[in-house]
Amino acid sequence: MLGSSLPAVSLAAAQAKPPLTTPAEAKSLADFDARVKAYYELRDKVDEGRARQTRTKEPEKLESQRKALAANIQKARAGAKPGDIFTPDIQPYIKRWLKPATKGTDGKENTNTLKEEKPIVELKVNAPYPENQPLSIVPPDILLQLPKLPKDLEYRFVRKHLLLYDSRASLIVDFIYNAIP
């Protein structure tokens, strides 16, 4: 999924060096994909009624839709815990895949970019990302190393910790402590 999921026409993709996958890696990756898909389907299921996001010129509506969607997801995932999606199986692989993008001169550029923002965020699954904190910039090189995510799910960083972030509901879906060295 890593390299093969990238569009062939992308210059960035052409430059990417997808890590080799062993059968064990492939299995963990397939399991991760399935868990991400399950989250995505769950969100789609609860993304209805007043939670459904529409384009509007009324900021009140934007706010209420986002909060309603977040509340619906929180309710549907009431028992969610760290590692539900970033399982212990996938975590070491993700850390390994990230390594090339954090090494050498290019890696220094990437880590400098990540260090630029220092958001203060309590890492808690199914909790809202604090509204008053900036979101990290995620360097393209790093995104190229990570499994592709469906629409409105993003990788973000809080210092060295990797977040799976639901950008539609502004929720922390899961996280990995110290994902980068």
Partner: protein, 290 residues
């Protein structure tokens, strides 16, 4: 007429002139009837007096120069995205411009969540990155530099390749070139974007993030501007990098742009109404037009 009456009339006239900004800022743009005119603002969403001061100058500037829309370099609302935040940090400061029917086209900054794409007054069409053509021959590309995913890069490549516009202008939050001491050039982003900009003859790149104004010396034939001081200011942050063609980090600012044929005219104005930079850039010939 008595001398007192004459004096009070003179004071009234002077006040009117000052209010319209005519004395404070002299228009250097050609102001041609058929040109494309727009304004550039960046890092605006504070809701404080500085944002209002620049907004007032934008209104005064429009009395002289009828720009048709504005582009926003991101950090559109600092500190939150509640209904009140949008009101305090966007709708109120720019009310005269919004009431005049002007469109704002936003890019996302690191203080913005992707949900802003659904806010109709930002004209993002529900997308984190998008393109629009305000006039035949000019196309703008709004990118989400917070999250430069492979999908976005592919989209950009396709859009640049497909665009037959003479002028290609990209805008996004993080500068590829900047002399900012706090942030500076984003080298990781540059590695991905610059080859596309060069290959597809992007002419001008507008960014924010660093809270000042900087016109960068052309890099590989491309003109770069940092317009990140429209409400926040990092005084004295422009370092000695060799990149700077013109810098302004002692006041707040915005930029007016006029595209007329093969010329890109710009005028940057401070919150005090002083022109801090102006000039004209010539579009480089693309392979198709050589």
């Amino acid at each position: 007429m008595t001398s007192t009456r004459r004096l009070s009339l003179s004071i009234a006239a002077l006040s009117l002139v000052l209010a319209s900004g005519v004395l404070a800022q002299q228009l250097t743009l050609p102001n041609k009837p058929d040109s494309l005119k727009f304004a550039v603002i960046g890092d605006t969403g504070t809701g404080d007096a500085h944002q209002y001061a620049v907004a007032e100058k934008l209104v005064a500037f429009r009395n002289q120069f009828k720009y048709e829309f504005l582009v926003m370099m991101g950090d559109n609302t600092y500190g939150g995205e509640s209904a009140k935040d949008f009101e305090r940090r966007f709708e109120q400061p720019y009310k005269p411009l919004l009431d005049a029917g002007l469109k704002f086209y936003a890019a996302l900054g690191n203080h913005d969540t992707p949900n802003q794409r659904n806010y109709k007054l930002f004209n993002m069409g529900g997308k984190q990155y998008y393109t629009f053509r305000p006039k035949l021959g000019v196309r703008l590309f709004a990118l989400d530099s917070n999250y430069m995913s492979p999908e976005q890069l592919t989209w950009l490549q396709k859009e640049l390749e497909a665009s037959g516009s003479d002028w290609k202008i990209a805008f996004f939050h993080h500068p590829l070139y900047s002399s900012g001491g706090r942030h500076g050039s984003d080298a990781a982003l540059r590695d991905q974007l610059e080859p596309l900009f060069v290959k597809y003859s992007v002419d001008v790149v507008l960014s924010g993030h660093d809270h000042f104004y900087e016109r960068v010396k052309p890099q590989k034939g491309i003109y770069y501007f940092v317009v990140g001081g429209s409400a926040k200011l990092r005084q004295g942050d422009i370092g000695t990098t060799g990149l700077t063609a013109k810098g302004f980090d002692t006041g707040y600012s915005f930029m007016g742009v006029e595209i007329a044929g093969d010329e890109f005219h710009f005028q940057t104005i401070s919150d005090r109404g002083v022109t801090v930079d102006s000039g004209v850039l010539k579009r480089r010939p693309t392979p198709a037009t050589k």
